[in-house]
């Protein structure tokens, strides 16, 4: 099982619409299994699902090289998968098992993996901003040509360190892209109650090119990200993407009764009309790049791999409590 093929990176060619479909499906099916594990009380802690936002992570990560960097968030499973993480090692981590990416020490909010350039999910809102900027700085100083992408929710627009970071990035022309996922809510509060002025004007004021993108359209995301990544890699400095999207589920799995902060019809509208997976599937079919049978086959394949990954994680042992003292110091 340790050699299981990663559905996120195999079977279709990198960068193509079909591969982006596969990646989105992988995230969707991964998250559905997280939901299932969590509601069956098999997963400890909290789970913040990325369902509904898949096009953002996939569109952006498909514009990256394997050795490029990302920082992720509490809602990070999608970013990790899109950057190439293996689902079975992620599930193992989510269940607190020794085989997990972080030996069970990190959990859902701290998946990290040097092999895929993942600097780590981060449970501090805005916590990745300076870190990603620093990875871009190192890449520049070391002449590596790597780009760093900082994923964050629009709630992180409230954290001052984001502005400190953008200022540094622009002054020093660092290859970092700030990817703001505006899913309209900071936990249980609408972003309009927490965000004055126009969000894209903020990076622009620091001199960063800033673009607003339909975060439910994976091709649009990919195109915008590709432009910014290329620009950054060329040495022309950082950029900012505002990706309009929506989380289909609660802030975390336990957030069930949501009507006090967001209306059901809003959810229904996004789920029915703006599902990034469905939209992309329809486009693939309409363009003749796939037929429904092919999409179904991909989904089935991915589902099987996800089920195997869950099984791997469930069967994996917990860490020996003795190991609690390891890894405090390098």
């Amino acid at each position: 099982m340790a050699t299981a093929p990663n559905p996120a990176t195999t079977g279709v060619e990198a960068g193509t619409p079909l591969r982006m479909y596969r990646q989105m499906i992988a995230i969707r099916l991964f998250e559905e299994r997280v939901n299932d594990l969590y509601t069956r009380a098999l997963m400890p802690g909290l789970a913040h699902l990325y369902i509904g936002e898949e096009a953002v992570a996939v569109g952006i990560c498909e514009a990256l090289r394997a050795d490029d960097y990302i920082t992720s968030t509490h809602r990070g499973h999608g970013h990790c998968l899109a950057k190439g993480a293996a689902p079975h090692l992620m599930f193992a981590e989510l269940l607190g098992k020794e085989a997990g990416y972080c030996k069970g020490k990190g959990g859902s909010m701290h998946i990290a993996d040097p092999a895929t350039g993942n600097l780590g999910a981060n449970a501090i809102v805005g916590g990745g901003a300076a870190l990603a900027t620093g990875a871009a700085y190192a890449s520049k100083v070391l002449g590596q040509g790597r780009v760093a992408v900082c994923f964050f929710g629009e709630g992180a627009l409230g954290q001052g360190v984001l502005y400190e970071s953008m200022n540094l990035a622009q002054l020093w022309k660092l290859p970092v892209i700030y990817a703001c996922e505006n899913n309209l809510y900071n936990e249980y509060t609408h972003y309009s109650e927490t965000t004055a002025g126009d969000p894209v004007a903020r990076p622009a004021a620091f001199g960063l090119p800033a673009e607003t993108v339909d975060g439910q359209d994976v091709r649009a995301v990919h195109a915008a990200a590709s432009r910014m990544v290329e620009r950054a890699r060329r040495g022309d400095g950082p950029g900012f993407l505002l990706l309009n999207t929506y989380r289909f589920r609660g802030h975390h799995v336990g957030d069930i009764a949501r009507e006090y902060y967001r209306p059901k019809h809003e959810e229904q509208h996004w789920m029915a009309e703006r599902d990034p997976v469905a939209l992309h599937a329809a486009w693939l079919v309409s363009e003749g790049l796939a037929d429904q049978a092919m999409l179904d086959r991909i989904e089935k394949e991915v589902a099987a791999e996800m089920d195997a990954a869950v099984e791997f994680a469930q069967n994996a042992p917990y860490p020996d409590p003795q190991r609690v003292d390891e890894d405090v110091y390098a």
Binding site: P44, G45, L46, G96, K97, C102, K103, G104, K105, G106, G107, S108, M109, H110, N122, A123, I124, V125, G126, G127, G155, A156, L157, G158, Q159, G160, N186, E187, Y188, T189, E193, T194, T195, Y260, Y261, Y318, P319, D320, P321, R323, V324, D325, V328
Partner: protein
């Protein structure tokens, strides 16, 4: 462990039968009563209004006091804490809600370089009457950035007071005292206790002065000094010790600053043995100071060194078997106490 834990000897019964409240309910009641009492009291924080915070502790307050006094903020801990400092100087009595105590790391400048020093730096002219409510405590599988108990940091800083209640009764009385105090106070609430710890709380208005320890259980043979979540653990250990004939006293300082040195020292002078237990990181934390104070004050009555137990000195891990190994347990205390008493 049972779902809720009844807290130890409550206040002297005041004639009427006492209601039982959870720790979280007692806090909400303190907030509501003080907001009713004083229109200058406002509550600021992330998701405090309709959501009532993720812990639901302040649920219902916005309905009574409105969105002007129960204010949802952006995710700007430094900004809104600093705003509260300025507002406290100029006529309000703000309470800020720091959802996870780990985020104290984001507001130390506002709390320590501003709030704690303004009264002194201005020669006593400005005052900063505010309360910073912050959660603490592990075992929620929330991992390293959402599980810390960082009360040692503000306790180190002159100009601040620090409360760390363990029971609903104490939480309510101390929070009311904190809100009425003219100084900046950091008030730590154990997340697990919110729903789990239940206890008697009188109907009538009362405050508990900051700086008065409480003997949660009287005993002869050994003193267990315990804070916050560790008070329940100490009481549990004391029950286990009783079974082997060791009679433990459990003392809760209730505030780390001001610190009721006298009560702590007197207890140990009586018992001649002491363990200090706290959920913060073990090193350079709460236990070092309290153990030193006791060792200095009760030295000639001590049978052996004051011992200490804190959280294991590692970042809090996610995995349940690992995390469980980081928090002091009844068994840890029992074993250490038994050894100290040579039983």
């Amino acid at each position: 462990m049972p779902d809720t834990v009844a807290t130890g000897p409550g206040p002297a019964p005041s004639g009427t039968a006492l209601r039982e409240l959870t720790f979280g309910e007692a806090i909400r009641e303190a907030l509501a009563e003080e907001m009713r009492r004083d229109p200058r009291v406002v509550l600021l924080g992330e998701d405090v209004a309709e959501a009532g915070t993720p812990f639901k502790v302040v649920k219902g307050l916005v309905e009574e006091f409105g969105k002007d006094r129960v204010v949802d903020t952006p995710i700007s801990e430094a900004g809104f804490t600093g705003l509260a400092v300025g507002a406290a100087m100029t006529g309000l009595r703000p309470i800020v809600d720091i959802m996870f105590g780990d985020f104290l790391a984001l507001i130390m400048d506002q709390v320590v370089n501003q709030a704690a020093k303004i009264h002194y730096m201005s020669g006593g002219k400005w005052k900063v009457p505010m309360v910073i409510r912050a959660t603490m405590g592990a075992t929620r599988r929330s991992a390293a950035q959402h599980s810390q108990s960082l009360h040692a940091w503000p306790s180190h800083v002159p100009g601040l007071k620090v409360a760390i209640p363990s029971t609903p009764y104490d939480a309510k009385g101390l929070l009311k005292a904190a809100i009425r105090d003219d100084n900046p106070i950091v008030f730590f609430e154990d997340k697990i206790s919110y729903a789990k710890v239940k206890g008697p709380v009188p109907d009538e208005d009362y405050v508990i002065p900051l700086g008065v320890a409480d003997i949660k259980r009287e005993g002869r043979d050994i003193t267990l000094v315990a804070t916050s979540s560790m008070v329940q653990v100490a009481l549990g250990a004391a029950a286990m010790l009783e079974e082997i004939g060791i009679n433990a006293e459990v003392v809760d300082p209730r505030t780390t600053w001001p610190l009721d040195e006298k009560t702590l020292i007197e207890s140990v002078r009586k018992t001649s043995r002491c363990i200090v237990v706290d959920e913060g990181y073990y090193r350079y934390g709460i236990t070092g100071e309290i153990a030193s104070v006791i060792a200095e004050g009760a030295f000639y009555d001590l049978d052996g060194p004051v011992r200490r137990i804190g959280a294991r000195h590692v970042p809090v891990p996610f995995s349940p078997p690992l995390e469980d190994a980081t928090v002091p347990t009844e068994r840890d205390l029992f074993t250490m106490a038994r050894q100290m008493c040579n039983k």
